[in-house]
Amino acid sequence: MAELGYPNNECLEQSGYESSEESDWLTGLHPMDDLLRGERLPHIWCQGCGLGTALTTFISAIQWLEKNRGWDLDKISVVSGIGCTGRVAGYLRLDSFHTTHGRALPFATGLKLANPDLKVVVISGDGDIAGIGGNHLIHAARRNLDITVICVNNFNYGMTGGQVGPTTPHKARAVTTQYGNYEYPFNLPYLVAAGGASFVARWTVLHARRLTWTLREAMEHPGFSFVEIIAPCSTAYARWNPEGRGLDPQKLGRRGLEVMKHYQKIGRVGQDVHPKDAVIKVDENGLISEIVEGKFLDDPRPDLQAAIDQLASVADKRWQAAKKSLDERPKVPKRTDHVPRTEVQLGGFGGQGIMSAGKIVGQAAAIYDKLEASFTQSYGPEARGGSAGSQVVISSDPIHHPHLIEPTSAIIMSQAAYDKYVANLASGGTLLIDDGLVCLSQNHREDIKTYGIAATQIAGEIGNSRAANTVMLGFWAAIIGAVSEEAMRQSVSESVPSKTLDVNLKAFDIGFNRGREKIEQ
């Protein structure tokens, strides 16, 4: 097919197209044929549908931009959702994608952020963009992402048979509202402008020339640009509403044409209209009696990519600083002995530093001792107070199950945690408790070794009761010995705030020495 000389035609063979002499769509006669996938045409749109006109105006704008602004057609990408308008992506010989219902904007967001050089255009219908994808629309507008959204509004869900949609005017008829629509419609330009878009316009397809100019502007506009195109739905919407019969119930004619003639009568081109005043008025019969058209907002401001780039440079500076301190942290001699799978259960109440104690253990094992470690945490819904628990698994071998199977040691710092966790402890395991806070129950387990230390009291005596968890850690490190003392010490000094470093190291030493004493007994 390359001999036809279409500019954007390299992948035609890959698209599964088989050349046939009968097709008249690849003749290249029409000036827009080189931007159409002739193998997929004729299109499915009904006689008198406005979508074809919306497509010609879009192609016309693209051709103008290619000719006068030097746009590269390979850098334009068109995304569509589901619906009659969703077919546009399939008919355009551009890089195009037909997404799932309502998700054209999320797809376009990803496309644009991953490849900022692309000019991304979303062409989809009102049911797709404002109905199921309405949330995506307002959030894309809020972010001011540099894409162009062309929403072809035909006032109903056309492809499925003309059901009432989010833009159906009040009192207008649809298949599912035969006595008139009792809901009120979206004013899309106002919605999008309120969402934060920086370019908002509306035209009917009848004003094709001015629509083309606006589409050019919208595609050149940096930031989120939104163009609403009002198009007749000749089969569904025009069937139920008076404008489809030229306001004469007896008249049977070309409904699409009658609607276009109606738009010619009622279209009002506004100059500098506020989006709030860009209304579509209906009379008491649901007949559209005025459509305000024009460009309502053109307010260029920094788009999402500019904001990302700005904050990325800040983040990069911070990361460089963090990386420097990570590179400079002290090395502990690598362990050569084999550590079997050691599971630690830590429990207490919120604020005791149960999570940070677990993190310190895991960090000491993983970073300084070069072992494998996994850390999970469980706590109540409160951020302060309440019960808290964390679980650490340490091993020389890769850890295949990250959670505890049968904990061999436990650090318990509250009565509730004692009640909850001690039952799970492995037979022959080691239980370490804070003497001052936990009382052993009447029927305490005989098959486990229990060591106690008044951690909170000791920490209070040396100046900061919040170092109680460090006392417990020192105690644990001395008794269990799964992690080397030096690694624990480094991990503690890296994790605690620099102001409390001395207190914490002192607490660690006290705990460690008490642990040694207990073992020697």
């Binding site: 008249d24 159409l36 006689q47 008198g48 549908c49 074809g52 397809v205 083309t212 010619q264």
Partner: protein
């Protein structure tokens, strides 16, 4: 209609002449081109194409000024205008 005032740049501005082409097989007979042609050079014909749609018919080609509105409005890519190269 005869105007007593003439545009000042009448002698400098050349009005182009266009040639309208209809691709019969593509037409769906919506009538947009016939209705909205500013020079009224198209008519709805009685003839139909293979799908049974009535086609636009060129009534008076000499009046076409190559504005291209029919090409822009046609939803089916079935009509286009070519510059004849001649001026009025």
């Amino acid at each position: 209609m005869k105007y007593w005032r003439q545009p000042l740049d009448k002698d400098r501005i050349k009005v182009p002449i266009g040639i309208v082409h209809v691709i019969n097989e593509r037409c769906k007979g919506c009538g947009f081109c016939v209705e909205f042609c500013p020079r009224g050079i198209l008519l709805m014909s009685r003839q139909t194409n293979a799908k049974g749609y009535h086609l636009p018919e060129i009534a008076d080609d000499s009046n076409c000024v190559n504005c291209g509105l029919c090409m822009l409005l046609c939803p089916d890519f079935a009509i286009y205008v070519e510059d004849s190269g001649a001026d009025e």
